[in-house]
């Protein structure tokens, strides 16, 4: 088993996935390192990749005039960074920046999308897992909207 097979196989996003599918994913992987402050993605740019963060921390942020960069979320070790690659026009909705030295597995979105198109069962399997991830993020975002520390009521 090569290094990527092990990393992908052990990642919570792909837990229990069929080995032949894991093999398809591994074929789209490479390693990447981001220095502190380095942008992982720019709002409006093509979402050509997504990342499994292995070490470090990435902020998801947007720029607001008069306020500077406003951080909306942080993605840390063990989590997945990016889902704009799944839906046309495949453009990043926010900036993403490494807050500290960050190591990640980069997944080539075009490579994976092609494999998903070619094998719809594989495509559905990946989609299901991403929907779970998106649902969890949406849930946390909704809780954030509650502003529950506001007046402690």
């Amino acid at each position: 088993m090569d290094k990527f097979e092990q990393i992908i196989g052990e990642h919570p996003l792909f837990t229990g996935m069929d080995e032949k599918y894991l093999h398809l994913i591994v074929g789209c992987c490479s390693n990447v390192v981001f220095k502190p402050g380095e942008f992982v993605a720019h709002e409006g740019d093509k979402a050509d990749n997504f990342y499994l963060v292995r070490h470090g921390k990435v902020t998801v942020e947007t720029f607001a005039p008069g306020r500077g960069a406003v951080t909306i979320d942080t993605v840390v070790e063990g989590e997945v960074m990016g889902w704009s690659w799944m839906v046309a026009p495949y453009e990043a909705h926010f900036d993403a920046r490494a807050l500290e030295l960050t190591r990640a597995v980069k997944l080539d979105a075009a490579c994976l999308r092609k494999k998903m198109e070619d094998d719809p069962a594989f495509g559905f399997e990946v989609m299901k897992r991403f929907v779970g991830l998106i649902l969890r993020r949406l849930h946390y975002t909704r809780l954030q909207l509650l502003d529950w520390y506001g007046n402690d009521k």
Partner: protein, 304 residues
């Protein structure tokens, strides 16, 4: 129209309880009472833009004010009113009575203006405590939201005073912005310890914040504890506690191993007036600290 007497004032059992509560001698160990004891303000310190800490010492000169982590006092500002405030000091070294609260109502706003030497009335300590003894031998996770860190701090002091008797200890703290972080310097000191995991997250961040962004529940999936041998203590706004309990249970904690601190309109402090009644329980007396198992049926009821 006829008025019927308050049943509490005719029930011999309750009258007996009231008599006992009112007659407990006020010695070195201040005991719950219906009459406030005078305390002097030793220090008043602003914590964040809307929270502050009062350090009080007994006007009688008594050297100690014993309490258990999680208990609260009724603080009386003469001429203004009385409010329940959790004790945020160290139960292991109770030389000074410490309260941290937010200035939101008439009483707490008046309290914020108190100066060194001013006198406040204190009744207490009241209520149940965090399970620091039950947690011995277990991992511990403390989850605090906003000002909820204040009532949990005494539990952490107790645990740290006896640190080797516990497994891993994690503090997960969420607040609105970095400016709202309570006890910031102390949190940083705790985080520098090798035997303590401290994680903070804020809902919104700009500029220099280098920590996590997101609600406190996002910290739970990765917190270092063994769910089969962990006691969780949760304090914060009720809605935050509700979702925190859900995340803790997803990690495998039992309902009876999760403790929450409830807050209602406590008035008498001894379970007589009924202001803090939550279904069949009086929070001032049977709480404020409950296991989730004890309180879960009341947790989601909209009517109470």
């Amino acid at each position: 129209m006829t008025s019927s007497p308050n049943p509490a004032l005719t029930d011999p059992r309750i009258l007996q309880e009231l008599a006992v509560a009112a007659s407990i001698p006020q010695g070195e160990a201040a005991a719950p009472s219906m009459s406030p004891l005078p305390f002097r303000v030793h220090t008043s310190r602003q914590e964040t833009h809307d929270t502050f800490t009062l350090e009080l010492s007994p006007a009688s000169g008594a050297e100690k004010y014993p309490f258990k982590a999680g208990q609260f006092n009724m603080l009386y500002i003469y001429g203004v009113g009385e409010v329940p405030i959790s004790i945020s000091g160290d139960p292991v070294f109770p030389a000074m009575l410490i309260h941290t609260t937010r200035a939101v109502g008439a009483v707490t706003k008046a309290m914020k203006k108190l100066k060194k030497g001013d006198v406040v009335g204190v009744r207490g300590p009241f209520g149940t405590a965090w399970p620091v003894e039950r947690a011995l031998g277990n991992d511990v996770v403390l989850v605090a939201g906003g000002i909820g860190l204040a009532p949990l701090r005494p539990a952490l002091y107790s645990i740290l005073a006896n640190r080797e008797e516990y497994g891993s200890v994690a503090v997960l703290y969420g607040t609105r912005t970095k400016e709202d972080i309570l006890f910031r310097r102390e949190l940083e000191q705790w985080r520098s310890r090798l035997d303590l995991e401290v994680h903070a997250t804020v809902d919104r961040a700009t500029g220099s914040w280098r920590g996590n962004v997101g609600v406190v529940t996002t910290l739970i999936p990765k917190a270092p504890f063994d769910p089969h041998n962990t006691i969780a203590m949760v304090c914060g706004p009720e809605i935050m506690m509700r979702f925190t309990v859900i995340e803790l249970m997803k990690r495998g904690l039992e309902e009876s191993d999760i403790y929450v601190s409830m807050e209602r309109n406590m008035k008498c402090g001894v379970g007589l007036c009924g202001h803090c009644q939550l279904g069949p329980t009086f929070i001032c007396k049977n709480g404020p600290v409950y296991t989730y198992k004890e309180i879960k049926d009341l947790f989601r009821k909209r009517e109470i």
